[in-house]
């Protein structure tokens, strides 16, 4: 199996703050890779470093066999990396369809406007936003905006999809719908890294999981190994809320 | 050698002027720092300060420096008024809105000012004598203006760091949402900050009027200088504004020693663009 993404000893600092320390993992194509950790563990920073928003001080990132450590986000997008944001970033004054067309036009496949519109309609159908296609994105509610983020990412037909807390703020039925969607995406051959706070979802969906704590990689393995890893339990006891969720999930 | 002589003669003068530039820029930069608004009515307010000095001195016969005690509170009130009428509604809107809102205030003031004073130049003929030190002559009005500028800066500093409203202003500048959560009345603080900014503009105008002639349009030039200084000193940084003002004053004295005076604006604005590109937070400003 070919490696889609290699993260090798990545270190990122902000002034005196060590946001990521020597993070290393390999990601084979076709996996769903979970990324968990307490608040402020550096998960989103890792995403930003992988997709070129930040450049690491040390280490290397290899995507599809190419060193992309110093590359800008738009080049990575064109190579087939797409992501969603924890805090949604809709293009408010554009319609929902136009939002999705941006992903199709400028992402991995560089579609023309006409074909992008077609893809947008398909993807909107898939994320169940078809009825909103002509509305302005700013008028959607939060759950819809999350689905829009997802749709924009999917419309580029990415190889690798970075999902940043797509379940947060959704109600249980919406969560089930979204999880189903993620699994469907994987069947289309898209590799996924997901940051998630909902342990149940991560445990159920992920093939492997990486745990970050204060920017350090404290564990990596399949869900079962992670659940029983003493370092993970210790880290999570430091965050009562998450510990609570762990209990609730098991 | 000749250049050195010229420098020695011109530099002290330029630096004295720089203090006054600094006060003008401080007004602009305070408003920018607290609410992220570039106040395009800054220039006409400087002009109003000039006419304030003219009215208190020529019409009312009050010493222009004492007149500052009248002009400053009026400047403060005017600023609060402008904030309430024109700025408050667009404080969270995109930049273009606040730029155009303050620009329309600019048009209103210039329009009324032209109707009242025409656009011909006025003079506040106020002579404080001069001091000659070696090759340089220091004018009394400029010395006092520099002193007044230092007092204004000091007072602002004390106000911001030693008083409750001042601390509120800094809190709002730092993080408005957090300040509101802590119960700071942000609208009132923003209005006060805007008022302080225009007060400083009016003071600088009044000081400039004691040594340069002026018209209702003169403020525009000092507004542009304030932009340059704001960028050199770091937008939103009052001390940086003073340092930037001194730097600009010095620059205006240094450049003519080496080339024709008409090159001064080319150098000035060239430096301005360069500073923006290299250090958008100011050459002397804190790194964000």
């Amino acid at each position: 199996m070919t490696l889609l993404l290699q993260v090798q000893g990545v270190t990122k600092r902000f002034g005196g703050l060590q946001a990521l320390t020597q993070v290393t993992f390999d990601l084979p194509a076709g996996e769903i890779f979970g990324l968990i950790g307490p608040n402020g563990a550096g998960k989103t920073t890792l995403f930003n470093t992988i997709n070129g928003v930040y450049h690491p001080e040390e280490g290397r990132i290899v995507f599809q066999g190419k060193d992309v450590t110093k590359m800008k986000p738009y080049y990575l997008a064109k190579m087939g990396m797409a992501r969603t944001h924890q805090i949604v970033r809709p293009l408010n004054e554009l319609t929902v369809r136009e939002n999705v067309m941006v992903g199709a036009c400028f992402g991995h496949e560089n579609q023309h406007l006409a074909s992008a519109a077609k893809i947008a309609d398909e993807v909107l159908d898939f994320v169940k936003l078809s009825s909103r296609a002509d509305q302005l994105a700013g008028s959607l509610n939060v759950a819809q905006k999350k689905r829009l983020e997802m749709a924009r990412a999917l419309a580029s037909h990415p190889r690798l999809l970075l999902l940043d807390e797509v379940l947060a703020g959704l109600n249980p039925s919406e969560i089930d719908g979204m999880i189903q969607m993620i699994l469907d995406i994987r069947t289309q051959g898209v590799t996924i890294i997901m940051i998630e706070h909902l342990m149940k979802a991560v445990m159920n969906v992920s093939d492997r999981i990486l745990v970050l704590d204060y920017g350090e990689q404290i564990a990596e393995g399949n869900p079962k190994e992670i659940a029983s890893d003493p370092k993970v339990i210790e880290a999570y006891l430091g965050d009562p809320k998450l510990a609570e969720r762990l209990m609730e999930d098991d | 050698m000749q250049q050195l002589n010229l420098l020695l003669a011109s530099l002290p003068d330029g630096i004295l002027l720089g203090f006054v530039y600094g006060v003008a820029a401080m007004g602009l930069t305070l408003i920018w720092g607290v609410m992220n608004v570039i106040n395009l009515s800054h220039g006409p307010i400087i002009s109003l300060g000039m006419f304030g000095a003219y009215i208190v001195f020529i019409k009312m016969g009050i010493n222009p420096y004492l007149g500052l005690l009248i002009i400053a509170p009026l400047g403060l009130l005017l600023g609060v008024l402008i904030y309430v009428v024109a700025v408050h509604r667009v404080i969270n809107a995109p930049h273009l809105s606040s730029l155009l809102a303050t620009f329309s205030v600019n048009m209103i003031i210039i329009g009324l000012g032209t109707a009242a004073f025409t656009t011909s130049p006025y003079n506040v003929d106020f002579n404080m004598g001069s001091v000659t030190l070696g090759s340089t002559t220091l004018l009394g009005t400029r010395l006092i203006a520099a002193l007044a500028a230092i007092i204004a800066t000091g007072s602002l500093y004390l106000f911001l760091y030693r008083t409750r409203p001042g601390k509120y202003i800094r809190a709002v500048a730092n993080n408005r949402a957090a300040a509101e959560l802590m119960g700071i009345p942000s609208s009132r603080i923003l209005a006060l900050s805007f008022g302080l900014g225009t007060m400083l503009a009016a003071i600088s105008g009044a000081l400039i009027a004691t040594f340069f002639p002026f018209s209702i349009l003169s403020g525009g030039g000092y507004e542009l200088k304030s932009f340059v200084i704001g960028v050199l000193g770091g937008l939103g940084n009052p001390i940086g504004a003073l340092v930037g003002g001194l730097a600009l004053g010095a620059l205006e004295a240094i450049v003519p020693a080496f080339m024709e005076t008409s090159w001064v604006p080319v150098i000035e604005f060239g430096l301005f663009i360069l500073a923006l590109l290299v250090r958008p937070n100011g050459l002397f400003g804190a790194k964000e």
Binding site: - | S120, P121, D125, F212, T261, S262
Partner: protein, 446 residues
């Protein structure tokens, strides 16, 4: 569906309204004060008129800067012109040899001191108001823009308040300049300095703009030709307020005479700071600012400062002067003009006002000489014009390179001096034959 069609119609309706509004937004003429009414109410035609007196009203078009930077001077110029027109119309107009009586009507608009507007309005004056002759707006820049339109439409234009030489070197044939051209503004001052101190060292410090640069362009070679040493040439930006560094340079250059300046704001500032810095300059000659009455607001700083003036009430030109030169005299005496002006506007006339008045006077003379109001004939009369008025000589260059450039007029030099009561007054100090006082020199001990 119906609703959307309705929306579309509504939109089109709004658009067509907007279009109509644009057509209607054309400027309304600003009433020429009293002029037209005076023309119609004027009592019966002159008695010596032949039996078939044809009355003809000639429209003179111009724009005035009622707003914007040129407002003050422009107003004076227009007042001068209107005074002339009222006088002519009240006197029953001009009578040509075939008995035609010519009266004048003015048509004017506000140009906002804006070039774009000037072109729009001069086109309107020519094509819609059917102006027969044109007078320029005030200032060289606006006049340059207006001259293009006049020339393009083949209309004659007399320019006043426009000293720049350049406009007359562009191949125009129908534009005639009343003011002494910019390049000669300070040459008479140089002549005067030669009598005061032939060894003077001159610093030329001027505003970096079109007019002042033209002045300096004429001044420097002339000063050198007169044997002076020019020790400093310095141009400064138009909005300069601090002349400290420049004054230090002047001091450093060892200059004894400073010539230059530009317009009122910078010129007055420069004069004031020269005074404050006490660098021992013996003679100061500044453009534009000193002839203005406001200059006395500078107080002691104004004392001794000189400047060139197109015309001064105190040294108005006389018929005797014309006779001496053997040139034809025309028009009222300076005293009569000044009295009439003061009666009409309650203000002493400046040279802007005299220029406005003389522009009318020149047109009058040209029409009389041509004995016709036909453009071509009047143009020929202007080309041949060589007269003397209270404003001074008027004669035009007729060469192809600089057609219409004023060559008959010379400027006087004024200096601010104190009268016996200790008040600042403007005295004429050059040329010597019209001088009211001898110049103060040096103004500060060397």
């Amino acid at each position: 569906m119906k609703r959307s069609l309705f929306n579309l119609f509504a939109l089109l309706a709004v658009l067509s309204l907007a279009l109509a509004a644009c057509g209607g937004a054309a400027p309304a003429p600003t009433a020429a004060p009293a002029a037209t009414t005076a023309a119609t109410e004027a009592p019966a035609a002159p008695t010596e008129a032949p039996a078939v007196a044809v009355e003809k009203t000639v429209t003179v078009g111009f724009t005035a800067s009622q707003t914007g930077s040129q407002e003050v001077s422009s107003k004076r110029q227009v007042n001068g012109f209107n005074l002339w027109m009222n006088q002519v119309n009240e006197a029953g107009g001009l009578t040509l040899s075939d008995g035609t009586i010519v009266k004048f009507a003015a048509q004017s608009y506000d140009d906002e001191s804006n070039k774009e507007r000037v072109q729009e309005l001069y086109t309107r004056l020519i094509t819609e108001d059917k102006a027969d002759f044109l007078i320029s707006p005030y200032s060289s820049g606006l006049t340059a823009a207006a001259a293009v339109i006049a020339e393009q439409n083949g209309k004659l234009m007399i320019t006043t308040g426009a000293a720049d030489d350049d406009t007359y070197k562009q191949g125009y044939t129908g534009v005639f300049q009343l003011y002494t051209p910019g390049s000669l503004y300070l040459t008479s001052t140089v002549d005067m300095i030669k009598t005061l101190d032939p060894a003077a060292k001159i610093a030329i410090v001027n505003e970096s703009d079109k007019f002042s640069t033209a002045v300096v362009g004429g001044l420097k070679p002339y000063a050198v030709a007169q044997g002076f040493e020019v020790v400093l040439e310095e141009a400064y930006a138009s909005d300069t307020a601090d002349f400290g560094p420049i004054i230090n340079k002047i001091k450093d250059s060892g200059a004894t005479v400073v010539l230059g300046g530009g317009h009122y704001p910078d010129g007055s500032t420069f004069a004031r700071q020269l005074y404050e810095r006490k660098i021992g300059i013996q003679f100061i000659g500044i453009l534009v600012a000193p002839p203005d009455s406001k200059f006395s607001e500078l107080g002691d700083a104004a004392l001794g400062v000189t400047g060139p003036s197109q015309w001064e009430g105190k040294a108005t030109h006389t018929e005797a002067e014309a006779k001496g030169l053997g040139i034809e005299w025309f028009g009222p005496s300076g005293a009569d003009f000044a009295a009439a002006f003061e009666a009409a506007y309650g203000d002493k006339p400046t040279y802007h006002a005299a220029g406005g008045y003389t522009a009318g006077l020149l047109l009058q003379k040209a029409i009389l000489n041509a004995d016709s109001v036909d453009s071509e004939a009047v143009k020929a009369a202007l080309d041949a014009m060589n007269i003397f008025t209270f404003y001074g000589g008027i004669k035009f260059d007729t060469s192809a390179e600089a057609h219409g450039l004023q060559i008959g007029h010379s400027m006087v030099v004024i200096q601010w001096q104190k009268n016996d009561a200790g008040e600042l007054v403007r005295e004429v100090v050059w040329p010597a034959d019209v001088a009211t006082k001898s110049p103060i020199f040096p103004i500060t001990a060397p």
